[in-house]
Amino acid sequence: MLKTTTRHTPDGPVLDVHGDLDFHTVPDFRKTLEGVSLLRGQRLVLNLAGLRFCDSSGITAFLVARNLAATAGAEVALTAVPEPTFRVLRLVGLDQVFPIEPAERAGADSA
């Protein structure tokens, strides 16, 4: 099960991810990502505080987000990454690729 809600902040959209990112849920998540409008210079934040499980399909989805953002001239950050997912990100070296923030920055409240 996966539920994603999108918020808009002055810095860019925030996706709150709740549930599992796996083989079954990632196709929908990718559709959500593709529907997010990103402007040049904005930052897309994936808020993973509600993420319960993430497998390699989820990792691919993060990379899709990164590629979509790069195409728009924007960037992607992960925030509130749960420990198991952080271990995987570190194992595959993505901690060097994604800005990872402990929690949402100030000013990222609902618009």
């Binding site: 990718r30 390699s56 198991p84 595959v92 070296g93 993505l94 690729v97």
Partner: protein, 428 residues
């Protein structure tokens, strides 16, 4: 006001009888007419089966005139050959034993040869002394019922055929998947002098091509390259990437065996081929084996990793540890790969184990299996050669049962332990 009072509700036997008497003439005025034109066939036969009486309904169904049947034919003559046999072997004996037989499905043969599916019920009429006199038979038209049954049968046969077709397609798919899967792995590991090798591949589903791969090949001059990796995703798209990755690694290693250079090449190939919303990447450990020169003295190993779980090293002294390649990033996602290289040595009695994360990500009652448990498991094995180590890990995979939902590849390279000095053995 109505000139006649409505009939009072029936309250006694007298009024019921009056009502019945009132409607009787409308329903049946003749028992003979009821017999002749009943909505079912009636016939009576002598005890030897000769037809004694047949009603008009049955005659019209069969297209016979009364005089063609009565006194001339037996009931069994009206049946098909199969029906005759059944009548002879089952129906008649049962009737003789029980005095009645109910609702037997048979086929009657009409005068024009057409077949009429019917349900037959027969009762033996006896005299006051209990001696059988004749057989009374009712014949009910079962064409609708037969058509319905045949429709059911036809639908069942169609469903069975569709099921068989689906099974055939599934078997064909499994064959195709198995053939392609084998093409992604070396048919057998080459013989490397002074090295024991063993590998295992677990496919999560016979319906899907796995994305894990391994390889071991000669670079000439006493050097060998080995690799093990995991391509993201499953299915034909992942298999295509797996094939590309494996062959790119081989070709690149032939050109320049430096593991870092090989992984950079693979990274460039994947990065350029797959971008945008279809990123394809893999995790890989690639190693270079260089025989130290003299027999039984082991191998120098150069390992490079790109986002892959760390290799395990089981030492001759009974210890085990991870050989991490920290800092390496998934191959294929960045324009310029970040690869780390480590060097180690395989001494006699040492075994290096490469594996994919299907092993550590397996679900157990206590959660994911994990790195720590794996290290504890192989520490208990050490020292252990390539073959027994892979066997032990294969057993471990099997113990996960349904908890193992990903493909898993395992490759072990071990240097045989030195034969221990045995003072009682005679020199050869």
């Amino acid at each position: 006001m109505s000139p006649r009072e409505p009939a009072p509700p029936p309250q006694d036997a007298g009024s019921l009888a009056e009502q019945a008497a009132a409607v009787a003439p409308l329903l049946e005025d003749s028992a003979e007419d009821l017999y002749e034109n009943a909505p079912c066939g009636y016939l009576s036969t002598l005890m030897n089966g000769t037809l004694a009486k047949v009603n008009g309904t049955l005659l019209s169904w069969l297209g016979y005139r009364r005089e063609e049947l009565v006194g001339r034919r037996r009931f069994a003559d009206l049946l098909t050959i199969g029906g005759k046999l059944y009548h002879e072997t089952h129906f008649a004996p049962l009737l003789q034993m029980q005095g009645e037989v109910h609702g037997i499905a048979m086929e009657l043969k009409a005068a024009d040869g057409a077949r009429l599916p019917v349900l037959v019920t027969s009762v033996v009429k006896t005299d006051a002394a209990g001696e059988p006199l004749l057989i009374r038979t009712t014949v009910t038209d079962a064409r609708d019922r037969r058509a319905y049954e045949q429709e059911l049968l036809r639908a069942r046969r169609a469903a069975e055929e569709a099921h068989r077709e689906a099974e055939r397609s599934r078997e064909h798919l499994h064959e195709v998947v198995a053939v392609l899967q084998r093409s992604l792995l070396p048919p057998s590991l080459p013989l490397v002098p002074g090295l024991e090798t063993a590998a295992h591949y677990h496919t999560a589903s016979p319906d899907h091509l796995g994305g894990d791969f391994y390889d071991l090949f000669s670079l000439g001059g006493g050097r060998w390259a080995f690799c093990l990796g995991d391509v993201c995703g499953k299915g034909p798209e992942a298999a295509a990437v797996t094939s590309l990755a494996r062959h790119t690694l081989r070709a690149a290693a032939m050109n320049d065996p430096d593991p870092e250079a090989v992984l950079h090449t693979l990274n460039s190939v994947l990065y350029e081929r797959y971008t945008g919303d279809d990123p394809r990447y893999c995790t890989v450990v690639l190693g270079l084996l260089e025989a130290a020169g003299l027999r039984d003295t082991g191998f120098d190993i150069t390992l490079a990793g790109g986002g892959h779980p760390p290799a395990l090293l089981l030492r001759d002294d009974g210890t085990a540890r991870y050989v991490p390649t920290p800092g390496g990033v998934l191959i294929g996602i960045l324009p310029r790969s970040s690869v780390t290289v480590v060097r180690t040595r395989l001494e006699p009695g040492d075994t290096l184990v490469l594996y994919t994360d299907g092993l550590t990500e397996a679900r157990t009652p206590a959660g994911r299996y994990g790195d720590e448990q794996l290290l504890a498991h192989v520490s208990a094995l050490a020292p252990s050669g390539a073959e027994p180590t892979v066997k032990a890990l294969t057993d471990l995979l099997e113990s996960f049962g349904n908890g193992l939902d990903d493909d898993t590849a395992i490759l072990a390279l071990g240097v045989p332990a030195r034969a221990h000095e045995n003072p009682t053995s005679s020199p050869c």
